[in-house]
């Protein structure tokens, strides 16, 4: 007599089941982007300027953010590094916390903090106004200031 094994459950499609996969893919893709973004960031800010880190001042930042290229570039680092770093920290929290409430509290704190930092950073990058410096035209001669 043949033994018939019933076909076990069909795939269980749970709500949110794809999230862990997406997070895993995101960590790798953002990681690859971050390698290049961060190397470029360090080169342009620290290695290439003659005076190294001492070259960074209001004028340096104003000069960079006058160009949409650096606005997008810095915006990308901001978003990718914060989401990548926060998701990485979420992994660590999930590793080390056993109590559900503590896990929830720490993860909520992480994402709220990251959200605030992204919001603030994006605001600064997009609304930065070099005209608050009265001497702005010594280093940005083409800049037109209102009022």
């Amino acid at each position: 007599m043949a033994v018939i094994i019933e076909q076990p459950d069909a795939p269980r499609s749970r709500k949110g089941a794809q999230w862990e996969k997406r997070a895993w893919i995101f960590m790798r893709i953002s990681g690859v982007f971050l390698i290049f973004l961060i190397i470029g960031h360090l080169l342009v800010n620290l290695v290439l300027p003659e005076r190294g880190v001492k070259a960074i001042d209001f004028a340096f930042v104003a000069g960079k953010w006058a160009s949409p290229f650096w606005q997008v570039y810095d915006g990308l680092i901001l978003w990718l590094a914060l989401i990548h770093g926060t998701n990485g920290m979420r992994t660590l929290v999930n590793d080390y916390t056993e109590r559900v409430w503590l896990r929830k509290a720490l993860n909520t704190t992480l994402w709220v903090t990251a959200g605030l930092l992204i919001l603030l950073g994006t605001l600064v990058i997009t609304t930065f106004d070099p005209c608050i410096d009265p001497n702005v035209h010594t280093y940005l001669p083409d800049l037109v200031c209102k009022g």
Binding site: P11, A17, N94
Partner: protein, 249 residues
Amino acid sequence: MSTAVESTKEIAAVPSFTVTLFVRRFNPETDSEPKWQDFDVQVFGTDRVLDALHKIKWEQDGTLTFRRSCAHGVCGSDAMRINGRNRLACKTLIKDLDITQPIYVEPIKGLTVEKDLVVDMNPFYQAYKDVKPFLIASDKPEKERLQSPEDRARFDETTKCILCAACTSSCPVFWTDNQYFGPAAIVNAHRFIFDSRDEAAEVRLDILNDKEGVWRCRTTFNCTEACPRGIEVTKAIAEVKQAILRGKR
């Protein structure tokens, strides 16, 4: 003549030496915490850690509790932490360890200790059961299911698992998160996911595409290093991840 006798004597004389074993003891009836106990054991160069444990149990302290069955690396009963590494006691020659130092023997980590070196294996077996470690095919098992040698080779590695739990209990993610399926369950899912005769690869991939599934793996390679069967466990897990990303085997 005399030289011949001498040389046989030399061959027959298996060197024996004394080693100190520190064994992690825990008696749930009297102890609140596990503690180390040391034993001096006279062993031969051919002895394994399991032989030393036997000598302790049979000659010094009959209460020492550990699991073993085949004593030859087949049944997977005696995985334990020896000098901080997960090994089978029956496959670890004492002479291969640093015998100038004491040998430390502990239960495997991440599973509740029941007594001395015996841990509760139920969570481990449950994760194994959850990946449906059996052939699922729609046709009736009335005749042989043929398979090409290439198709068989695809999952040959993972057929070698003896469910000793050395890998799962070497995994830092499993130590802190018992919900994680763990390497052994993924190895045994791999065994069927990549079997051309099996028809439920998607079901198992879906099970492992879970919050506590393959994505918890952080590629630390502890499992590959621990496996007494030489299975490249981390690679098997990576292959399952790839299969989930593809959506099929």
